[in-house]
Amino acid sequence: MTSGTDVWKGYLLAWDEPYTLIQSPFAKDGTRVFGADSDYTTLAIAALQHRNTLGEAIECISLADGVNGSIFTMATGVEMADEVTYDSCKWDLLIGDDATVVLIQRDVQIELPELETHVEVDDDFHMAIANAWEKELQDGHVSQGAYVSSSQYIEGGVARMALSGQQFGELLVWPPRQLNEKGLREDGRVSLTPVGNVASWTKLSAAGAPSEFSLRAPLLGGLTTVLLDLEDGPKGVFLMVDDEENVIKIGDSVELVVRRIYAQEGMIRYGLRGRII
């Protein structure tokens, strides 16, 4: 196995045989901080996804508190360790005091590398976004946005987080249907490649954005949404992430990464969002 450093899913990455270190590229006063829609869960998912690209078959993992286990499993297919399975799991996922996550083989002692690159964030922007998320997550906050119930959200979770599609004969469909084109239940689930080209895009002004985003859209200068022709065939509509500096064009290549979307009823709704490659 090779070791190295890279940018992966919008995060900074270093890896070697016994570990994957992943960090937010943003910093404030020298400390790593999360971007507008990232947290330990999104970092953890990205770390595991990278490990998969190395051919590492991780089946079970012990997750640190602070990582949403059910979201992690929906996105990666990897089970969290519980009291029964803990001893048989060979990997731990640890979180740092800052926006850092380490996926590491159990009982390995190693000095992790320092990743120097970072983007200094605006203090006011960072605080305002953090406050907006906190307010969105409060029990008393009632979203005026689209009501996607928790059961509906979870039913579509694997499709939303892991880009799981459905094969109907020659036809590849995403998101999956409840019944196939003949009206029958069929479970030909396939994972699609999370890459596509921009078929169209728009940037909604803060005033025009859906009201579930009303706390954050003004801070972000609006919301950018793309219609992607996915590499494997189907189309999908995705919100972009960390796109303040990007100018999008039809035909641009976009990769899909797991990030926060919005919060409802005290629950953060995660999903795939687009990043220009």
Binding site: V148, L204, P210, T225, F238
Partner: protein, 392 residues
């Protein structure tokens, strides 16, 4: 089985805009205007059945909306139901009314629609404006209807010879028509320069590409051929009714530069009425956004596919100047868009146009045949009707 023919014998509406009246008052006004528009003797007691389109925006009377309305318009006891198909609710209410008579189960039927939109906070309004799109995928990707139509516009510009200036032409035209319509929400002309430089809502769509949110109600009275004479000597015949549905979400459609439901619905309506798009003198087209009108001119067959931009640029939909007058009322852009009321509001306009009852320089010359086009959401549902002075 002998199928009856169906005619519109009365039609009325409120002014569209910001109303001080609530649901009950607006509906009563529209119904009374429709009753009074009947040339002969008419009593609400003659109504056999009623269909009222509404999203029930705001949720103030989400259940049994229709019964509340008949109670307040002298239609007590009439079998009634709310028809909900997003912005195409009353287009489908009209189709249901037509089918009730066609089937022989009713002779006199009311179709109408209503929406009260401007008594909500901006946040609640934005919630209700989004309930008819694909909630699970599009909405969670940050899209509202301006966003979905913006995606269509940008793709159309990419695939065909069209651009934002073409949309500006549509906006300017519809405002010019609406400025002459005393029932329109926005009764003022807008210059090309002003419309081109509007506040960006969803790039590339500006404020002048988007219809306003309006309060309003509309009501029409349909009658079977064997009772029409009781009511009028100048009925407006329903010559064709077509409807279709499509995938709710844009990402499930093969193309986003065409509203397939419109193409399918119009094909059926043309077939039934035995006419072609060239026979249409005026069309009330669902221009919730200017790009929607541009695409509709293609989907309805007034322009070839990809040539909707040129159609708009060359003024081929301008009142009494082009191939066909598009949105003589001002359309949704200027007349306004009280969601549930829009479909039957379009019927009110063509009823008056075909009977030569429109004043203020807005009358379409020699209008014989008209079309209405009512779309739900971003094209998941569509109802198209062909109406004419002649029975066939």
């Amino acid at each position: 089985l002998v199928m009856v023919d169906v005619a519109v014998v009365g039609a009325g509406q409120t002014k569209y805009g910001n109303h001080s009246l609530g649901l009950k008052g607006m509906w009563a006004e529209a119904a009374l205007n429709a009753f009074e528009s009947v040339d002969g003797d008419f009593s609400p007691s003659q109504i056999d059945e009623a269909f009222i389109g509404s999203i029930a925006f705001g949720g103030s009377q989400l259940g049994n909306t229709a019964a509340l309305l008949t109670e307040h318009s002298a239609m007590d006891g009439v079998p009634v139901r709310r028809v909900e198909n997003a912005c195409a609710s009353s287009g489908f209410a009209f189709r249901d009314a037509w089918m009730a008579i066609k089937s022989g189960q009713a002779d006199v039927v009311v179709a109408g629609g209503i929406e009260k939109m401007n008594d909500l906070t901006p946040e609640r309004k934005r919630f209700w404006l989004g309930v008819s799109g694909d909630t699970e995928w599009e909405r969670l990707a940050g899209l509202t209807f301006p966003g979905t139509y913006a995606l269509m516009a940008r793709r159309h510009f990419h695939e065909f010879d069209s651009n934002h200036d073409d949309l500006v032409h549509i906006s300017v035209k519809n405002h010019a028509h609406g400025a002459m319509n005393p029932l329109a929400h926005i009764q003022k002309q807008v210059s090309f320069e002003k419309a081109a430089g509007g506040f960006m809502v969803a790039d590339p769509l500006t404020l002048y590409d988007c219809c306003p949110t309006s309060d309003g109600a509309s009501c029409v009275i349909l009658a079977a051929d064997h009772v029409v004479k009781q009511f009028t000597d100048t009925p407006v015949w329903v010559r064709g009714s077509g409807a279709a549905s499509d995938r709710l979400a844009l990402h499930d459609r093969p193309s986003i530069t065409q509203i397939k439901a419109t193409a399918e619905a119009s094909k059926k309506a043309y077939q039934q009425s035995g006419i072609t798009p060239r026979d249409i003198d005026l069309a009330e087209v669902h221009d919730c956004f200017t790009i929607a009108e541009l695409m509709a001119t293609e989907d309805l067959g007034f322009a070839k596919r990809g040539e909707g931009g040129a159609f708009a640029r060359e003024g081929r939909g301008v009142l009494n100047q082009g191939d066909v007058t598009i949105n003589s009322s001002g359309g949704l852009k200027s007349k306004g868009h009280p969601l549930g009321a829009t479909g039957t509001g379009q019927i009110v306009e063509v009823f008056k146009q075909l009977r030569g009852e429109v004043a203020d320089g807005r009358q379409v010359r020699d209008a014989e045949t008209a079309l209405t086009h009512n779309v739900g959401g971003s094209g998941a549902t569509c109802a198209v009707h062909v109406l004419g002075r002649e029975r066939q």
